[in-house]
Symmetry: C2
Subunit: 246 residues, 2 copies
């Protein structure tokens, strides 16, 4: 199966040239040669089998358009309270493989790490690269948007953009509210956000703010999941409920 790459070029049936950093990656790192065929995802979302015409010049021609949609049936944004260490790298890679449309992070009350604007920008760039690599490997049609918020309030204001706001809350699982998540997903909202706390959890004040704004608190199974595992459960569950369960 041909490797897949995202390029900034829009779809065209004329010969075309790609630019760095994709040029560097495809020709210097992956060492594509004249005549080799790759799957390119264009900036307008179209996918084509393309052949290298001239590797020196990074010149391609389209062989045929590929009709393929590997995206989840609903748009899912995964939002996490900043976790410790490189857990955000892990979450980004796996959430991309599992179909997230966007991966957001924000400082929650019980987040241990504190990042300033400069540090956030660097982290965002690193995560964007991880997301692109994982999106290529898993044959996604798009690269998830990466967004790290400096302030919780900035993040909170964005919640109005979603049809449904879901908060993964351990206490809900304990109260036996295990069917809520399925109920919400079964309504097939177009665009949802699923929110996860950092290692220490979501503070009572945060839970109340979410609730007062119409968020649904849900439990994700009977076991206690680590901060970095819960988002993978939610995405897998959404896929199982909407893609497999037809």
């Amino acid at each position: 199966m041909a490797n897949q790459y995202f390029v900034k070029q829009v779809y065209t049936t004329f010969n075309f040239f790609i630019e760095n950093p994709e040029k560097h990656h495809i020709f210097n790192v992956m060492r594509a040669r004249n005549g080799e065929r790759l799957e390119l995802v264009f900036s307008d979302g179209k996918i084509a089998l393309a052949e290298v015409v001239n590797a020196e010049k990074a010149e391609f021609k389209v062989i045929k358009e590929i009709n393929r949609n590997n995206e989840l049936p609903i748009e899912v944004t995964i939002a996490v309270g900043f976790p410790k260490g490189d857990k955000l790298d892990f979450i980004t890679e796996k959430a991309t493989e599992l179909g997230a449309s966007a991966i957001w992070g924000a400082p929650f009350e019980w987040s241990v790490v504190k990042w300033n604007q400069e540090k956030l920008l660097k982290r965002e760039q690193k995560l964007a690269k991880i997301a692109q690599g994982a999106a290529e490997q898993s044959k996604r049609n798009l690269i998830p948007e990466i967004k790290l918020f400096e302030k919780f309030t900035e993040f909170f204001e964005k919640l109005h953009d979603f049809d449904k706001v879901i908060v993964a809350y351990e206490e809900s699982a304990k109260l036996g509210e295990l069917s809520k998540f399925v109920q919400v997903v079964d309504q097939r909202p177009t665009k949802i956000i699923v929110i996860f706390g950092p290692e220490g959890g979501i503070s009572p004040q945060e839970v109340n703010s979410f609730k007062d704004n119409g968020a649904e608190l849900v439990g994700l199974g009977s076991r206690i999941l680590r901060a970095e595992t819960a988002p993978l459960y939610a995405l897998s569950a959404i896929s199982a409920l909407l893609e497999l369960n037809k």
Copy 2:
């Protein structure tokens, strides 16, 4: 919430003493003190809130039995073709959190690593520790069984012990056979095994052997999952379908 530990002691209402390595872990590493209360899972599966009577002697008394079942409604064994590096560590930790009853590994035709009996034994011991830690953290009622096979045929012979043998097979996803996994899980077999290939996949010969023995080949969503991600998808999906979807 009190920390949970597995002990080799059977449940008793008399005062009791625990042994190493649990004694060392609870008193030297976690530094439990007189009067502290912990949740202990006894070797017969019973759980109790217990109080440290004498930390020096590792002596406990039961305060009250705890009635809790955090296990998946069906027994799920995860079996993987030996993957590279420390991916088996990762799979063991996450599959334990997500409710696997057993985690098995075996050399598949396209596994890159080759381990001899001595190396396998060491790996098994390491994985058993990882599973115990993850089972404690996620509040499981049992520690998943860890088993690494030296030969593929030894592994293959064990498949008769299961009600259903499921093979995660990328080609099935491509053929659009996405509902098969749900169909099998919805029949609520008591004891299933879900088999995953190493990074390179499952060889055609292996697929045919599984098929000839009545295995179901299933796809797990539209995207291509890495070897270490697919088992987490399967366990999350089983939980969503059987624990949440009531």
